[in-house]
Symmetry: D2
Subunit: 408 residues, 4 copies
């Protein structure tokens, strides 16, 4: 008889009953494979990532806002203080505007004839449908707004989205609607929202077109890179955790993860990588793309702290399924946090990392900085699997730290 019973919990779910809550269903019936990963994801997010005031960054790819996930899940997470900063594709923010401007999207079908839709002036995102006018009106809104004097400069995308969010918020108020737009909610809550590809969406397209007229608006890409690194650096140098919640993959995944190499490898500041890693995706590792790269691989790059590998979870499933479940679980199982309002401290955060960079960095080749043997300040707590968990090489790496023990 092996020692399995001492190392892992017995797999024996409860029968599903009528009226079960989402959180109880996840704890009771999601035991293995991607179901098991999703349950681990729920516990990782709830018991570790948002515990002890850890800083949580979220990356958004895939057309999540057109599917209604802004209103259903992202805004509730922002309001609960569970997400502190965001990297998004431009498309998610552009389509978020439709909701904030009170426009209508429809739950259609993926099996329609697109040539007919084109003739009718209907736009399709898989099974989400809306009128061509939704695009044209949203475009006109963007062009209108960015003529304002506060937009006539070069700025980081967090500032741009903050300013834009203010206009959306005002439109929401005028229309008497609320909790419709991520940009509006982020503006209200001081959550910085970046995009890694500022020209790549209808927002960027309209900004670009206006630049052919007399607009002075330009994106300060360099600031975004340094600003995102500054957020992670601030968390880590405080002894807090820094976690990433990655929906999809793509450029936003790379951008949220590159904060650590930016600190360690480019700026020459000693660091160990993000503490917790949670990804919901359909991208597999074997095609070599970053979208499907595992947390293990990220360890080799210094993006993830190797001691925390057991607290990295990848769930292979559509975000339209996983995000509502994780949101329901977190809201049901733990208390809201006070929003960190990182946007309000953006200048100070940037200045801190700039000063540290000028102390540590060089223009010539930087030496290897990462000393994994050095003792570090304790952080991680109980493993998300509920028992000690073996790492990939068979050694137990779970640590216990009663103070960060999650509520369950």
């Amino acid at each position: 008889m092996s020692s399995l019973n001492k190392r892992f919990p017995r797999l024996l779910p409860e029968p599903i009953r009528k009226g079960v809550s989402a959180a109880d269903l996840i704890d009771g019936a999601f035991k293995a494979y991607n179901g098991g990963r999703l349950a681990e994801a729920c516990r990782l997010f709830t018991e570790k990532m948002v515990a002890a005031n850890g800083t949580v960054g979220m990356s958004l790819t895939g057309a999540l806002t057109p599917a209604g996930l802004g209103r259903a899940a992202i805004i509730p997470l922002l309001k609960a203080g569970f997400v502190d900063w965001i990297i998004s594709t431009g498309a998610n923010l552009y389509h978020d505007l439709h909701f904030g401007l009170g426009m209508n999207l429809y739950a259609g079908s993926p099996f329609l004839d697109d040539v007919n839709l084109r003739k009718e002036g209907i736009i399709r995102i898989y099974d989400v449908l809306f009128d061509y006018d939704v695009l044209l009106d949203t475009d006109a809104f963007v062009r209108q707004v960015i003529q304002g004097p506060e937009f006539q400069k070069c700025m980081g995308t967090d500032e741009f989205h903050y300013l834009l969010g203010k206009y959306v918020y005002e439109r929401e108020r005028k229309l008497g609607i609320k909790e419709t737009s991520v940009l509006s909610a982020a503006y209200q809550l001081g959550v910085p929202v970046f995009t890694s590809s500022p020209g790549d969406s209808s927002i960027g397209m309209n900004v670009a077109a206006m630049a052919l007229r007399d607009s002075k608006l330009q994106f300060d890409v360099n600031r975004d890179v340094n600003q995102t690194a500054s957020i992670v650096y601030a968390a880590k140098s405080n002894g807090d955790t820094s976690s990433v919640f990655i929906l999809g993959g793509g450029s936003p995944k790379n951008f949220i993860l590159q904060t650590e190499p930016q600190i360690q490898e480019v700026m020459g500041i000693e660091e160990r990588g993000h503490d917790y890693f949670l990804q919901c995706t359909d991208a597999r590792p074997d095609t070599g793309g970053l979208s499907g790269a595992t947390p293990n691989e990220a360890v080799s790059w210094g993006k993830i702290d190797p001691d925390n590998l057991p607290d990295c979870v990848v769930c292979y499933a559509d975000s339209t399924i996983t995000l509502p479940l994780i949101t329901a679980y977190a809201l049901s199982r733990t208390k809201p946090r006070k929003p960190k309002r990182l946007y309000d401290r953006r200048d100070a955060l940037l200045e801190t990392i700039r000063a540290q960079y000028l102390r540590c960095g060089t223009i010539t080749k930087i030496g290897h900085r990462t000393d994994l043997e050095k003792p570090k300040r304790g952080r991680s707590g109980r493993s998300v699997t509920g028992t000690k968990r073996e790492s990939a090489n068979g050694k137990s790496t779970a640590k216990s730290s009663p103070k960060t023990k999650g509520k369950k």
Copy 2:
């Protein structure tokens, strides 16, 4: 302005709240992509497939019972009368025995060293772990049981599983456990359980080894083929619906769907195909395999009634996520049904289709039998999307039938 608002519901979810039930979460926040498909699947199963006494066949592939889905979901569905017959891989039934025999499986990790596991005598199914003795003891149980006199003949796999289920049920009673084994539950409820590949699993392996001794047990594959067709034929010739709920794909998917070509194309009996089709899988259509073949393609084969295409749903997600959610939804949103106990009528069902076959079939080439223009008895009801829905070619095909309108 297009007529979208008249054809499709507005996509505007409710914000997720603390303590939300699984069923409300699905209705409120699953609006598009695979999340939308999953919500449609829940409604299709609940409002149409199990409505009006329709016959529901379920196919099981992927290692579902090792993940605990027998106890968590399949047994509750059987007890609620929502599944009338089953096609399973042998592996799912073999691993189901471990639960019925009171053995322990563990919720482990997919990242263990398999060479070490092999040395320790631990068996791994992705992240499910158990001792090698679990296999050896289960094997011995099978060999022991099939020495009984009732097993000394050639029989269909439904009969074999019924007889085996009786022994599992008795073991459960002796151990004082219940609701652990699908085979035991199916035995108690008269639900016939077939396998399309009777030699392909440790059950079949032990039966085969015993045949090298003096066992007379042999599987009657022909009976299985005709028996499964007889179940579908009975439902359809009664004017009831016949539906398939396909978890995964593989040989069981083919076997559950081939019932209609067996009736139409081999036996020469006029029919139109299954009424409702629900599949949860990760197999995509583009690789050409039957696992990923769409309900549309099945129409060209006569497996699916073309009029019911809008009531066919494929959700691309792991069954360990979708099955608990569909189960929770169905148990919460509709009342249990009285089990049909199809097993008890197996001889009569077979005789009925045999007689009809001898009337309609020939050994020489059978003529084209399917007359799609002929009026048929009404069945399908409100579309699962809640509004009229366009079919692939843009024509509205939804019908309304107030009497089958589902509870919501």
Copy 3:
């Protein structure tokens, strides 16, 4: 500076040139990710699996014969003596008949309206199209043939397919066509062809219907299980290698791999698992199904010899791409082998394993038999990556054996 240069080859492909051969392209330009795996698969198959008279079993799933892969690749592999036995879904063998009977399939499109196709009497397999009559005529052929006296008994599927193959071969001769049918080629070359699910296809459907008349044909599933194990046992007890070439996954994958547990765990004969494992699939491991289970996981079950893990390759790509490339590579890079004609020795092979089983096996629980510490007869040779290769846990496990060094 690490020791990478001593452990792995430099990654520096040659630029692709006009007129390049398929084999040179694979060696020259397929360096990483699934491209790298495919190159490894080509070398594994060519330099190891078919080297030194090793026994090679192939499993076929997905609708490969409708895509023309029977004629394009499988028959050439059989004729070159590179595949010694086959497990196939019934569907692949049924559709193989169309080619052998001189019927026409068409390279169509996946984007056609299936309701129209149904009305026109056209059958669709993704983008492969053919007339409904192809099915009806093939069905009639099967019913006609199995009325012969040699079919009036219970038999293994290898015997059934051999007898059927003879009729196809005769039809080919009459039609003046050749190299069209896998069943015909296997008949001519003495390659046993099994199916793990004999009722699951139109072949099985017609056999079943005829059993409702007066046909005595029945499948001996037990014999198939023992016969396939006997082939593997014969190879291994000769000191030769036993390899599996898995296209897709599904029940045939399980059936080809279960030969080793049948030997070790059910029959109680000491063995270590298959030597080489090659799979082309789109099934990923995380959904827990056997289709996507890795060779590593198979080690924990005793299906794969743990010492040979570095010689196990999984390539995630469609068989319609990988199989032609592997076939072209093998035919270009090594010489044909003399066919083993295993079918001719089927009775003797079965008798050998039966005798050994009666020596080693018990009806009661079998003890743990596998002694991984015991020295074994040397086999494996140069790793397919061209250099020593690290196993999952970082230890080098590659061995060198000049006599099996593959031609390159």
Copy 4:
């Protein structure tokens, strides 16, 4: 009997023979499913996209250059004049530098222990390995180079990559190596290379860090958006075709496709969409992301000309397999073209579209501009399937235009 034989070619491949060329293998044995799509992709690229001086844009995502595809395939395509402009992730261009700077990458294994790799200072991209110093040295190279006076300004990424490519080219010459770097080749051939996410990669990270010192280098995102649209507009307003060759998906896919909405929807210029669409990806449509969105869906957005849907091909397979095959096919089946050197005309191209925009565009809402009924200048030629091909809604849409008939 249906009319299949008049509408589609018979599916009857030639048996694969020893020594077959890659191009003959594709034409002879790739007949259905993704294999069929790959053959169509080869013919679409060769016979239509590069025919008649059409403009071809390529988008690169996934870690293609680390897999050696820069040297193996992309540079040969550039040198043959088959790719006129490029959108790439930053990562592909950053890793391209390693090759141009003469550094070593290794063909390793995906099954290594990443904690050990981190300790040894080895970086892993799935199965590609290299020393940490490769990153540190490349970073230092970037920082060194961008101190030059020509970099002290705000510029489009095409200009930035051109200037950077010149330094790589000089390094190649000094090292006596060639055909190693895409950036160097693009510099030499005047192929503009854009990135949609200029901050998102180690190149952008080093640029950003230097901006914390005294670097004046900033990316002009607006120019990139307008410049890419200007390339497409120039092709289309000349009556030539504009095609996209998309490897992977992600932000570069969106960026290359948004050129058409930028022209039509933001600038208000009447246009119909790209002519030919070729994508190799593993992203499926059902998750709703743009990576997996089909050409059909792109029609509803005006990104693709609806008349050309039959000439849009998506092949679901890893680019490490498809790109070498498409490259080998194109180089073998058609003649090189004279490079267009679009970079040299960048200012003029931009000025042209700017002038047209100022004529057509408005700041307020733009009217619907697309008149699909209007006759257009003839372009498309013989369908890639070799026969007339039905569109999704069953109408034949293939056109014949002898003058553009591809060489075969």
